[in-house]
């Protein structure tokens, strides 16, 4: 009996050894942290990968491989011809799309990463304003992994609440949601440094337009609200600028009327404190009411113009349609898409400045 059990176990170990996943020893593989896609001509695209090389002395160098092909697998095979060690996707941090590539559509390319179990759901997607291959090959950051650096740039902005949280999972969730359009961070180059240039807006998986950097904060506020955000706003009445910090705000959308003539009002209660004031700081506590009023009108104007411009392009990255779907019984995508650009969406701000000069 015992011998039978032991021989069974032995047989399992010996025969099933082939069933395991293949070994990928950490220092015998090339970890891709960044993939960039560019549109070349007709149906082909160029893929560029960045692979950090960790040197024994503790420094990091980025190595680049590039190949042109029709589909992802094709590019992958050509890349394999160039490398000493197998390229693996498991530590992929970010996928960059050249702006031309993004305009042709990114869903098929992303689908590979969505289905690959070794790729993190927190992997970032971003659009680069220009040619990604040139950017990856020419952009030199000393002693840092390029993919990680870009990811940190985006994550830092999400933490500072200048950009909503974003990753491949959220992108696809939005893509499959009725009444909401996906968006991605738009990166650009200025003075040899990469920076967050704005928001690239997608319709049906194809990039159609972009919002400038000046709209980033307002976009974030309308999309996901603030926990501890900040704003710099002019106060015309006092001819000064005010900076609000520690802002706590939650966008609330009120829906009235029926599905055929919806009345939509954004109500945002904004609670914050004055960080900086360019005018006369003396007696500021008496001006708080005035500042609050002025801030409200400036913010309302900005928000309304942002929403209007989105409406005119037929884009809904804020998910107003999704909220309407939750509210109205007979909501229908087609009808909604038709009436959406014509909707009158009001925005109301209720600013409450809680502190105006605490000395720390």
């Amino acid at each position: 009996m015992m011998i039978r059990i032991i021989s069974l176990i032995l047989a399992c170990i010996l025969l099933m050894a082939g069933c395991t996943t293949k070994q990928e020893i950490l220092d015998d593989i090339n970890l891709i942290t960044l993939i960039g896609y560019d549109h070349t001509d007709d149906r082909k695209s160029q893929g560029t990968v960045a692979v950090p090389q960790y040197k024994p002395d503790g420094t990091v160098q980025n190595e680049y491989y590039s190949a042109i092909g029709e589909i992802g697998q094709d590019i992958g095979q050509q890349l394999a011809l160039q490398t000493q060690r197998p390229l693996v996707n498991g530590k992929l941090e970010i996928v960059l799309f050249g702006i031309e590539f993004a305009e042709k559509g990114v869903i098929e390319t992303n689908d590979i990463f969505r289905r690959d179990p070794s790729v993190s759901a927190n992997m970032k997607l971003a659009v680069y304003d220009g040619n990604v291959h040139d950017f990856i090959v020419n952009h030199r950051i000393p002693n840092q992994d390029l993919g990680m650096a870009l990811t940190k740039l985006i994550e830092q902005n999400s933490k500072q609440e200048t950009f909503p949280r974003t990753n491949i999972h959220l992108f696809f969730r939005t893509y499959f949601t009725k009444g909401k359009d996906p968006f991605l961070p738009l990166l650009g180059m200025k003075d040899g440094k990469v920076y967050l240039k704005g928001v690239s807006l997608f319709k049906e998986g194809k990039m159609v337009s972009a919002l400038p950097a000046s709209d980033l904060t307002m976009f974030t506020l309308l999309h996901s609200g603030f926990d501890s955000g900040s704003f710099v706003l002019p106060v015309k009445e006092l001819n000064a600028e005010v900076s609000l910090g520690h802002i706590d705000a939650e966008p609330k959308v009120e829906m009235r009327g029926n599905v055929n003539s919806p009345q939509i009002t954004y109500t945002i209660k904004l609670k914050g404190l004055i960080n900086e004031y360019s005018g006369d700081i003396k007696g500021i506590e008496k001006k708080v009411k005035l500042i609050e009023k002025s801030v409200n009108s400036v913010l309302e104007k900005r928000a309304e113009s942002l929403i209007n411009s989105l409406q005119q392009q037929g884009l809904d990255p804020l998910g107003i349609g999704k909220r309407a779907n939750a509210h109205y019984r007979d909501w229908d995508v087609k009808e909604w898409n038709e009436q959406y650009p014509e909707l009158d969406i009001k925005v109301k701000f209720q600013t409450n400045i809680t502190e105006s000069g605490v000395i720390r």
Binding site: L26, G90, E93
Partner: protein
């Protein structure tokens, strides 16, 4: 002395086997005479000749010279009865049974005879007590609390326990086990508290031991274990009389062995091996924290290296991105795969421990330093092992030493190796499979017929009060369910809660 005794016993055993049992006292004396340390002489007096025989390496000469010889020489005795009355020593035996005389001779008695032809003789106990003094515990050292540890003498050990439990219910049962060594074994329990079934189990199992020599209590642990093939010890061995006394009054059973400075306590559970007796000297928050740290360190000790091997071999995705650079850098020059690297380092640590344990204390310390610093850094600089793994292995070894019971520490170091093997074979899945094997084994192990994993499985919420957490004494009013004690209450909870600060 003990060794010599043993040798002597062995040789006498052999002669016994050849010549069979002695039939008369003179046969016995003839047989004993073949050994050089057997002494026999006669004292001639007016009333008759007295023959004195003894094994000189066993008896206390002071007793003979001071308490026996003067009374034989100066007084007049006509027969053995007279002699018995005149020697001022208690418990003098008058016997004519040859097997009994033989046994007494071999356990340090002096034989007095008048006539060499008849078997009747006097037996006077004069065993020399060459015992170690009671000293501070070395293995289960504690900063607080009593500094007494068991010694090699059973009587002294019993004294150490009994003075802590002055109750009539503390029962000591004695038996001699071992066909050659005839070691005296005492089973201690508190009557009316300890479960009858447990007591019977222990006594029956010890009685049924068929073995030639019992040199230490750890022989008993192995011989009466429920599962002798398990790497897990199924009885706690302790050198602290306070721990044994506490266990006895809790309803457990203790086994003391002549010549062994370790008592055995049972039935026990896995968790109990990770509780130090010092936990009860600290207040419950501190004690609980230390126990949690100890449990964590056991987990760390078992799983750290296997997880390192599994992650580096199969699951590079799991490595946090900030750690990636450090790991790749430290691995980049190593010619071995992670498993070889890990096995080499683990074996090196085991080597060091074994070398340190076998060498005398002072050399042992040097070995520790030489091994730890020189071999460790040298192997990293030579590029044979990565420094990250060196840290992990060293920490894991350190963590395994936090286990208060030495035998459990050994087990923990051992079970790491199958985990390593499985980690190399199937990665994290392999670790999971190996853990399943371990868990199933632990579920099936019993300690004196009581479940080993209790109170985790079978779940006994009430018994959790003194496991990973140690609740305050006020919450410990009941004895563990696991022991099935005859009297479940330790003290009256209501009475303990009353505050009598103010006189009414």
């Amino acid at each position: 002395m003990k060794k010599f005794f043993q040798k002597w016993m062995n040789s006498s055993q052999q002669t016994e086997n050849k010549k069979n049992e002695p039939e008369t006292l003179s046969d016995l004396i003839d047989m004993a005479s073949s050994s050089k340390d057997f002494v026999r002489y006669k004292i001639k007096k007016e009333t008759g000749t007295i023959y004195i025989s003894y094994i000189k390496t066993l008896i206390d000469m002071d007793t003979l010279h001071r308490d026996i010889l003067p009374y034989i020489q100066h007084e007049k005795q006509m027969n053995l009865e007279d002699l018995k009355g005149s020697i001022p020593i208690d418990n003098i035996l008058l016997s004519e049974k040859v097997p009994e005389i033989k046994e007494k001779l071999l356990s340090g008695y002096i034989i007095l005879q008048f006539d060499t032809d008849i078997d009747e003789c006097l037996l006077i106990k004069a065993l020399s007590a060459s015992n170690r003094e009671v000293a501070a515990p070395e293995i289960e050292f504690s900063v607080l609390g009593p500094k007494e540890a068991f010694v090699e003498s059973l009587d002294k050990n019993l004294h150490l326990v009994r003075k802590r439990l002055p109750t009539m219910n503390l029962t000591v049962e004695e038996m001699r086990i071992g066909t050659t060594s005839k070691t005296l074994i005492s089973v201690l329990y508190v009557k009316g508290t300890a479960n009858e079934e447990n007591i019977n189990t222990v006594i029956q199992r010890i009685r049924e031991i068929e073995f030639d020599q019992i040199m230490d209590s750890s022989f008993i642990t192995q011989l009466i274990a429920d599962n002798q093939n398990s790497p897990f010890p199924q009885l706690i061995d302790s050198e602290r009389p306070d721990r044994v006394s506490a266990a006895l009054s809790e309803g457990k059973i203790a086994i003391l062995v002549e010549g062994s400075p370790h008592a055995l306590i049972g039935p026990t559970t896995l968790i109990e091996f990770f509780s130090s007796f010092e936990d009860y000297f600290l207040n419950w928050h501190v004690a609980t924290t230390f126990r949690v740290i100890r449990m964590f360190s056991v987990m760390f000790s078992v799983f750290a290296t296997p997880i390192y091997v599994a992650v580096l071999t199969y699951h590079y995705e799991l490595i946090p991105k900030d750690l990636l650079g450090i790991l790749v850098t430290s691995r980049s020059n190593i010619p071995f795969p992670p498993i070889l690297e890990a096995v080499i380092l683990e074996l090196a640590i085991e080597l060091l421990r074994e070398a340190g344990a076998r060498l005398p204390t002072k050399v042992g310390q040097t070995i520790g330093i030489v091994g730890g610093i020189v071999i460790g850094t040298a192997s990293v600089e030579a590029g044979l092992t990565s420094n990250v793994l060196l840290i992990i292995v060293a920490l894991a070894a350190l963590a395994s030493f936090t286990t208060p019971v030495y035998k459990m520490g050994n087990t923990i170091r051992l079970i790491r190796f199958p985990f390593l093997l499985f980690a190399q074979l199937w990665g994290l899945l392999g670790i999971m499979v190996c853990f399943c094997f371990l868990l199933v084994h632990l579920l099936r192990v019993e300690s004196l017929g009581r479940p080993y994993l209790e109170p985790l499985y079978p779940p006994r919420l009430q018994d959790l009060k003194d496991t990973i957490v140690r609740l305050p004494f006020s919450a410990q009013s009941l004895r563990p369910i696991n022991l099935q004690t005859e009297n479940t209450k330790r003290f009256n909870k209501q009475k303990a809660k009353q505050k009598r600060d103010i006189d009414e």
